[in-house]
């Protein structure tokens, strides 16, 4: 027995960063908006207060704020010839669940991806020639330019209270910032976070080697801050419980303290928690969405919610999963290289190395989330010559250190036994005296890195799980080996007592945490034959469906994705409000 509800004008799936931005920006239209969130509600007072939130076991090890894989998960494999098996526990990446989504438990690193990434095929062909791009690497332009998106980056940075130092204001290079960034209209809303001892040692060595260190931009507010919507952020307390935790100081730019409460001021915005959307409903032509089907997970009741406009704003992977389950767009086939849904799935690579300094204390538990010092000489720097290294992409390199929590952070020098008194002595000696240099590497799409529906395994609603087929290919292995060389060079220049072996990521393993930066699968572009969405994140196939999130990215940067995820949500909201709603149609 399915309950059919009276129609709404706009239906938004998911109430995290993008759902919150869309609801806030579309609220003033006065249209009837329903937002369906599959998890529960969240507030700083009730969910993130001290001492409750300072519980490494509950939040970091047991994933209290994250997706519950006993209900829905993914099947995973490295290549099409392997049987895909379920990801039975969370590990390599950590999607959120509940109000605010992963925006509640992220670290806050917030970048502007540069223009040359949005025009990646054009730029690489122009500089290195067509043959430089391997045949099995479907990189493609996004359909937008950096200049178009700049005002929306600004909007998101000011919404989230990002702390940083501009490197290029309207073409003027700013000392102390990232000289390789695209021109920006103005500086960050907040000054950079404090630099710790590890950052200072890294910056000194990097400068001596001729690189260009700058403070990594982070949505951890370095001072009390009021954002343009009038929402208050507190000052970061450097508590060391950021990523995987909610912020008790309201200092981490998070949806539940910024965009969501603003959206909920509009009486026409109706938030419904514990509502799990199982399908986008289509009319008989297959070209028009008529609403969604969902389950009230508190009662099991099945409900149909008709709507004129549907916006998918869940975690990127969930957006792709919903499109596949709903039969929207043609699923991608890697053999024929036709179809678009599930195409260009990418992840993030990199390398890391541990350094040990006898007698020096870095106090790793005094830490912000996204802070750190970075260099972009091998990443956003377009002048860095990739042809010498034979890969497309690059890596940004940082010393961060957001975490001294000892269940997971227990650095010991290579060769230390894993238990016993020798392990205890090494842990006691080196816990405070270690730091890590990390490189975060881009991942180019490959025809065999894909998302589709699993033929065997089902979720709690009896629907097929989504199947992820992914591994780092030759391009990424070369890139990660190169970044390992660079971090080794910087590490040696920092003159540690002991240095570990720089470790490049060469294959994808689902167990250790690496990055919640899953991209692609419902990508934006200029051609309906090779992309799922147009430049406004509108489905080419279904004009009254827009799809937010990093699932729209045709490739993955070395940069964290939340900056462009937020900016593109603001950009799409503008297009919907100013153009689509006045005359519903294909905008391109």
């Amino acid at each position: 027995m399915v309950t059919k509800l009276p129609p709404v004008d706009i239906l938004i799936v998911g109430m995290g960063w993008t759902g919150g931005i869309l609801a806030k920006e579309l609220g003033p239209t006065g249209l009837k908006i329903a937002v369906l969130e599959r998890g529960g509600t969240r507030s700083t007072q009730n969910d993130f207060s001290v001492p409750l939130i300072r519980d490494e076991l509950r939040f970091s090890q047991r994933h209290d704020l994250m997706m519950d894989v006993s209900k829905d998960t993914y099947t995973i494999r490295n290549k099409p010839s392997e049987p895909a098996l379920p990801m039975r526990r969370l590990g390599s990446f950590l999607p959120g669940e509940g109000l605010g989504g992963a925006g509640a438990h992220w670290n806050g690193v917030t970048w502007r991806w540069p223009d040359h990434e949005f025009r990646i095929r054009t730029k690489y062909e122009g500089r290195y020639g067509k043959n430089f791009i391997p045949a099995d690497m479907p990189i493609q332009d996004w359909g937008i330019t950096g200049a178009e998106i700049e005002p929306y980056y600004d909007k998101f940075e000011y919404t989230a209270g990002v702390s940083g130092k501009a490197g290029n204001i309207k073409g003027q290079i700013q000392p102390g910032g990232n000289p390789f960034e695209d021109p920006r209209g103005r500086d960050y809303p907040n000054p950079p976070l404090v630099a710790n001892h590890a950052s200072k040692l890294f910056a000194k060595a990097a400068t001596e080697l001729g690189y260009h260190p700058y403070p990594r931009p982070a949505a951890n507010s370095s001072r009390p801050y009021t954002n343009p919507d009038g929402m208050l952020l507190g000052q970061c307390q450097y508590c060391g419980f950021c990523e995987r935790f909610g912020c008790e100081a309201n200092a981490k730019g998070s949806p539940h303290i910024t965009v969501i409460p603003v959206a909920l001021r509009y009486s026409n915005v109706d938030l419904r928690t514990y509502c799990w959307v199982t399908k986008v409903l289509m009319d008989s032509t297959g070209k028009k969405a008529t609403g969604v089907a969902y389950v009230n997970v508190l009662t099991g009741e099945e409900i149909e919610q008709p709507a004129d406009l549907v916006i998918l704003a869940a975690y990127g992977l969930s957006n792709v999963h919903l499109m596949l389950l709903s039969g929207i767009g043609k699923p991608y086939d890697p053999e024929t290289q036709t179809g678009v849904i599930g195409k260009n799935y990418a992840y993030q690579g990199g390398s890391n190395v541990a350094l040990f300094f006898e007698g020096v204390s870095f106090n790793p538990f005094i830490a912000s989330g996204g802070w750190g010092t970075s260099i972009d000489d091998f990443h956003t720097n377009w002048n860095f010559d990739r042809s010498k290294h034979g890969y497309i992409g690059g890596s940004y390199i940082s010393v961060g250190g957001s975490n001294g929590r000892p269940i997971t952070y227990r650095p010991v020098p290579p060769g230390t036994p894993p238990w016993g008194s020798a392990w205890k002595r090494a842990t006691a000696k080196w816990y405070q005296s270690a730091l890590a240099i990390g490189a975060s590497g881009m991942v180019m799409p490959n025809r065999y890195n894909t998302l589709d529906l699993d033929p065997t395994y089902k979720n709690r609603f009896g629907q097929p799980l989504m199947r992820m087929t992914f591994d780092f290919k030759d391009n990424e292995q070369k890139m990660n080996r190169h970044s390992a060389e660079v971090i080794g060079q910087i590490g040696r220049a920092m003159n540690p007592t002991i240095m570990g072996n720089p470790n490049p990521r060469l294959t994808w393993n689902v167990v250790p945490y690496q990055s919640t930066h899953n991209t692609g699968g419902a990508i934006m572009g200029t051609d309906p034959g090779t992309s799922a969405l147009n430049k406004y994140l509108q489905s080419w196939d279904v004009a009254n469906l827009f799809v937010m999130g990093a699932s729209a990215f045709p490739h993955n940067s070395g940069y964290n994705p939340t900056g462009p995820v937020g900016a593109l949500a603001y950009w799409a909201a503008d297009a919907i409000r100013e153009r689509y709603l006045r005359n519903p149609r294909q905008l391109v």
């Binding site: 894989v69 998960t73 404090v194 508590c239 106090n363 538990f365």
Partner: protein, 242 residues
């Protein structure tokens, strides 16, 4: 901590039954109850500190106690694994939601998979411990002539090294490495998780490394300790703030 509170370990030591715990736990119950009463008279301890085991059976208790004492030996840095409450931590974890398979995708079919595909057994953590302890003791009996907890330190070390290296398949084809991965995490959790979960007793794990626990406010400390100087940690736990 009340001086009258007597831990299970001291108990067993005082009556000379360490190493034969399997036969003796029930016989000790009246004494344990008396100790518990004495302890409650002084202060009501958090539930996790209560004596006794909730999930582990006697043979399993002996195995886990021997394991945590081997991996975390008593030395100048901390007491032994059992003194730190790590065996209690593991018992409570297995008895609770995590042990029963919360946040674990449990549907079949099952295949071994590649190492990159992670845990693929049809067992909850509690079921895994039950089967793998039985299998480990069988392996130790075959190899060393006795259960794991009765083995000498060299034999324990050899067994754990082979288990960690994936060289041991336990009875019924259970991969020993899958057990090791879970138990190693659990030992570290018992050593370093907040003491409300029964391990890290008296914050000994945190004191060993200088981790300050749930300390809230570092906006000034971050500037004061940004030059390589050590922050003087006096760890604070959730219970301290509750």
């Amino acid at each position: 901590m009340s001086e009258t509170k007597i831990g299970r370990r001291e108990f067993l030591t005082s009556v000379g039954v360490v190493g034969a715990a399997s036969a003796s736990v029930n016989a000790l119950a009246p004494v344990a109850a008396e100790a518990q009463t004495a302890s409650q008279a002084a202060a009501t301890p958090p539930a996790a500190e209560a004596a006794g085991y909730e999930y582990l059976k006697p043979v399993e208790q002996a195995f886990v106690e021997a394991l945590v004492d081997h991996m975390i030996p008593k030395d100048e840095l901390t007491g032994s694994g059992t003194e730190l409450g790590i065996a209690t931590y593991i018992d409570r974890a297995l008895a609770g939601a995590w042990g029963k398979g919360a946040r674990l995708y449990k549907d079949g079919p099952w295949q071994r998979g590649t190492p990159n595909q992670g845990y693929q057994l049809p067992l909850t953590p509690a079921e895994l411990y039950r089967a793998a302890i039985e299998g480990s003791n069988a392996y130790c009996r075959k190899t060393f002539g006795k259960d794991f907890d009765r083995c000498n330190p060299e034999q324990k070390e050899a067994f754990l090294k082979d288990l960690a290296a994936g060289k041991i398949t336990l009875e019924g084809g259970l991969p020993g490495r899958a057990f090791f991965v879970v138990l190693y995490d659990n030992v570290m959790e018992g050593m370093f998780a907040d003491p409300i979960y029964g391990g890290n007793k008296d914050k000994a794990g945190w004191k060993m490394i200088g981790f300050p626990g749930v300390l809230a406010n570092n906006a000034e400390n971050v500037k004061k300790y940004s030059d390589g100087k050590k922050f003087p940690a006096n760890p604070i736990s959730i219970a301290d703030m509750s």
